[in-house]
Amino acid sequence: MTDTTAPAVQLTDITKRFGDVVANDSVDLTLDHGSIHAVIGENGAGKTTLMNVLYGLYDPNEGAIAIDGEPRSFDSPRDAIAAGIGMIHQHFQLVDTMTVLQNIVLGHEPSTRGLVDERAARRRITEICDTYGFSVDEHLDTPIEELGLGIQQHVEIVKSLYRGADTLILDEPTAVLTPQEVEGLFDVMEALTADGRSLIFITHKLDEAMHAADDITVLRDGSAVGTVDAAETSQNELARMMVGREVLFDVDSADGTPGEVALTVDGVTVRDERGLEQVRDVSLSVREGEILGIAGVEGNGQQELVEAITGMRTPERGTVSLQGRDITELSRRRRIEDGISYVPGDRLEEGLVQDYTLVRNALLSNQTMDAFSDGLFLDWQRIGDHADEIIEEYDVRPRNSEATAKSLSGGNQQKFIVGRELERDPSVLVAAHPTRGVDIGSIEFIHQRFQDMRAEGVAILLVSSKLDEVQKLSDRTAVMYEGSVVDTVDPDDVTEEELGLLMAGRARDGTERAPHGVEGDA
Amino acid sequence: LSGGDSEATTTTAADDGGDSETTGETTESGGSDGGTTNVAIVSSPAGFGDQAFNDLALQGLQTAAEEYDIEIQQVEETNQSNYQTVQSRLAESTNPDYDLVVLVSYNHTQALQTNAEAYPDQNWMLINDSIDQPNVAGYTWANHQMSFQAGVLAGTMTTRELSYEGNSLDPETSTVGFVGGVDGSLINAFERSYRAGVEWVDENLDVTVGYIGNYTDTQTANNIATSQYDAGADIVYHAASAAGQGVFQAAQDANRFAIGVDADQSVTLPEYQDVIMGSAVKYINEGTYEVAEATVQDNWSAVQGANILGLEEEAVRVVLGQAVGGELPDVVTENLEAAREAIINGDVTVPCSASGC
């Protein structure tokens, strides 16, 4: 039936434009049967777009798709699914309130006399789970929102298999997993290819690509730079292909000379809006002129901790102090006025008002600064000048303070936010993922600014899921796992592997290590 | 203020010369000599189509228009706050120049107080209230008296037997019902007078009362009446304008009887003839007819002033239903007549007044 000599998927000359942005520029990609093909590239390189084209979500402007040698065109995912393609998105496509079973069968419900035949569904799901060793079938009647991300990912994979996928696209599946969960995923991927299925595996992480894949295609600025054999390439070669120049993996990180303790967090416990304890009894402190890095897989309480410190969220227990003064009860606004600057992780929703011009955005979180008002009214003239300064100094493009925030690229948005928060002359800077989605050149610039701030005696709390960033910048690194700080280490004393183990909740030597109250109802 | 006025004698002519002169001027400028008489009628907040008040007033003008050369302009305005402007816009109008503006309901009173003075040349008819101005004819019908009569009808029949086309009264029960529109002084006057009428017949009779909260929700009217029929009432009187239909419907479902209001509803709503035992009517149409006629005939002084129209003037009464009426025993007519005389003589005092409670 299928032509096994032809590749499972053949993409030829795919071009996809969004307005002026060319997200994919004439990209070719060949996926062989029973193989794993990694696609790597920087943020915004066009990886997701390419996969969305293959999955029928986007209509390419140019180019052709062939499945098992047959030319196909997909108007919707339904067509792609029918052609045996399944996709596990970067953001899971699961309905939180529905059960695992309902999610798996969604769109492909077995029905008898109009009613969904749950028994038939259950049978098929159990079969799939047994074949590949998933434990998803233990949770079939549990709503998705009660499950951890690891299991949710398995649900996604089972969902695709249920739909009869021969080819699976995994879009950054490892981003949310601990190193150990990553291993588990790789096992599953192996079992799938052993069964004759083909996989496309998207990642930023060079080592993962080399470890798991057979072939690696590198995308840069929407174009395919090339495809290499995973067994025969090196990290340096891949990095050069990705970025377009040599990358210095090691930047000198001059240590600062810490002064007085500026920020103290003592025994803080925080719940999220669902009532779940996300931060448990965390204590830490940051000195003037020191960068404290917080490492951890995303979703281990870093966000809630940051919000408790910056006043976005009230902790349930514990205290936050600024220069020895208890500020636990202070409003967010008072904390801003008292010198806590905050670069939020969510720049789209929090850091900028997308419909405002940069001038108006320059006022965000600066509303009560005397410099910007003449007592009664805001002084838009001065605010405008300030916006121009930020744009100039932080190389924000375009150089137009009347441009709306949403018209800027992610990296430029980020530079504007960092500029605004740093220019306030804070005494404490809290930054969450400050270089996410930022190009390498800008990353270096932002890192430089952080180090300047440290030199000026600012206390900096840096949250990042990029280990290299944390390693490079911080004077001390606290590792968070399941809401607790499992250890605080000197970055010069640990390897990335050791940090990885800590992030997975293990001690540096690899032994199981349960931080206080990890077990519980999370 | 209307409390004091209501004691005034009916059809008072202008009491001094000054006023008559104004009246005379009106006549001259009225433009009615030989030509068409232009009459505007402004609705109450209930609007036209209420099968009651507004429609009756209009109907009187229409009857007059059949006889005389009258041009009628209907103005439906349901926002009380606009009456000031509507009135003055009509008074200022030159094309046509209105010879008479009829204002339905007391909602117009406060606005007219200003406008009657501001436009001395304009003649106004105010229904259900009056203002002491030479150019205003105030007509008030004695709602309380007719409701008392309705009470007499209900009180007389509830302990008697009657059956008509499957509908019947239960002589064992001694309860009658009342369904009102909005629980306020105006309808309270209907309710209390009705109750007084019932008790005039027999002190031991019970009256159950329910208010809809508006004049439009027939469904709620129906529910209230049904609830009352369930609770043993066999006759329900309504004072709920358009919503009253729900009461008749409930009567049909319960195979009981009801009493209509304002117009002879066994005529205006013939589909409910079989349950409408009678209606408490006020001849608003006769009032508007009278004023329209006086305007045509340049006889303003005959209608000017506060006119309280009650049983004595034969302007309100209870009429028996077209269909059911014939089945009622003579004692009904006897009681109604006796009560009427007692009220006119002052032997019986009806609670509340023509304008409310």
């Binding site: 979500l57 986007y58 209509d59 919707s76 995912p77 067509d79 699914i81 029918a82 998105h89 496509q93 309905v95 309130t97 529905m98 309902q102 969604l106 769109g107 419900e109 009613l115 969904v116 709503p143 929102e145 009660e146 669902r274 009532g275 779940l276 109802d521 999370a522 | 209930a46 609007g47 036209f48 189509g49 209420d50 909005v182 306020g184 159950t208 009362v209 329910g210 208010y211 809809i212 909260g213 508006n214 004049y215 439009t216 929700d217 027939t218 469904q219 709620t220 529910n223 209230i224 609830s227 009352q228 369930d230 609770a231 358009a242 919503a243 239909q245 729900g246 419907q249 589909e271 409910y272």
Partner: protein
């Protein structure tokens, strides 16, 4: 996890409330307590009737919102339904002698006309991404304006003449059952039909593929889209359904259990469309819970009437406000009702 627990708790509370209600009613009905004048079989019958238009509109609104579209125009659709029902019955019969056949045909016509109007509305909301709250309010305004206008054109006044309504149907044997027989088997067929609709709506929503799609469309439209189901098609269907159901609810008022169209003031619909929205919120988007909530509002109306009838008199202008106050109490107390997370957002594939 604790969310799930609250959800379970909700259901338990709801069941508890309704159970208690039923128990009290049963007690008052069968045991001769002073309250037995208050709760009569007739009052329950009327409560069921009063619940009918609310429940119909509420179940429609529930589907729309569950799929991610807040149809706040229910009140407006009810006005149109009430008007169209009366108008079609009247026109079919040539103004007089309206028969049961005319009435049932009028119901079908209401479904069709409401369906057309709701389709236009759905196109505005879904295709042209109109602000759902504003457009819904507009439907209300349009109903308030054109309803009475059309009545004036047809009948010369904002209200129709008095019209007959759907006859009660007596199911032979079942009607003999004490209390229940009279409530359900010797009653307006619309009462029973509405209960059937509520049960069917529950089955469809929670037991059929289509119901899964509706839920997914409101909670995570992308997930549904990537499952190969056209989100907007699902939404079109639910919005049109909500319009039809609200229209039928209105028709129930004018020709189902009422006696024609009344167009004065806020019209005969008189806020029932708003109550319907609250009913499905209170019913936590469960069609059965929604029916229960509608019944609760119906019962509240009846309670107020019964209180008047047995002579406990409070000022009518104040007791008439009970349902509105109850809505506030419910919303403040049950404000945590979990709204589908994609409500109000339009969905485009290419974004």
């Amino acid at each position: 996890m604790s969310t799930a627990r609250t959800l379970v708790d909700d259901r338990r509370t709801l069941v508890g409330v309704l159970g208690a209600l039923v128990a009290v009613i049963a007690l008052l009905l069968f045991v001769d307590l002073p309250g037995s004048d208050l709760v009569t079989v007739g009052a329950l019958e009327r409560a069921l009737q009063a619940a009918t238009p609310i429940a119909l509109a509420a179940i429609g609104g529930l589907y729309a919102e569950k799929s991610g579209v807040f149809n706040i125009g229910l009140e407006g659709f009810m006005i149109f339904g009430a008007l169209v029902g009366a108008a079609v019955a009247w026109l079919l019969a040539g103004g007089d002698g309206i028969t049961q056949v005319h009435l049932w045909l009028a119901f079908i016509a209401v479904a069709l006309v409401s369906g057309v109007l709701a389709t236009l509305f759905a196109v505005l909301l879904i295709r042209y991404e109109a602000n759902q709250i504003v457009a819904g309010l507009a439907v209300w305004f349009i109903g308030l304006g054109f309803g009475p206008f059309a009545a004036t054109v047809l009948w010369g006044g904002v209200s129709s003449p008095s019209l007959p309504n759907i006859d009660a149907v007596s199911v032979p044997v079942l009607a003999e059952i004490p209390v229940l027989g009279r409530l359900f088997f010797d009653a307006s067929p619309l009462v029973l039909l509405t209960i059937v609709v509520a049960v069917a709506a529950w089955v469809v929503l929670f037991r059929t593929r289509y119901g899964y799609w509706v839920q997914a469309a409101g909670e995570n439209p992308e997930a549904l889209d990537t499952a190969g189901v056209d989100v907007n098609r699902v939404r079109y269907a639910t919005v049109i359904f909500s319009g039809v159901m609200a229209g039928l609810g209105g028709a129930v008022l004018s020709i189902g259990i009422g006696s024609g169209f009344t167009g004065t003031g806020v019209t005969m619909v008189d806020g029932r469309g708003w109550i319907a929205i609250v009913a499905y919120l209170f019913g936590n988007y469960n069609p059965l819970g929604t029916y229960g909530a509608s019944l609760l509002f119906g019962a509240m109306d009846m309670l107020q009437i019964q209180l008047q009838t047995i002579g406990i008199s409070l000022p009518g202008s104040i007791t008439g406000l009970f349902p509105y106050v109850a809505v506030l109490v419910v919303l403040v107390g049950v404000g945590y009702t979990r709204v589908p997370s994609a409500v109000g957002e339009s969905y485009d594939t290419e974004e």
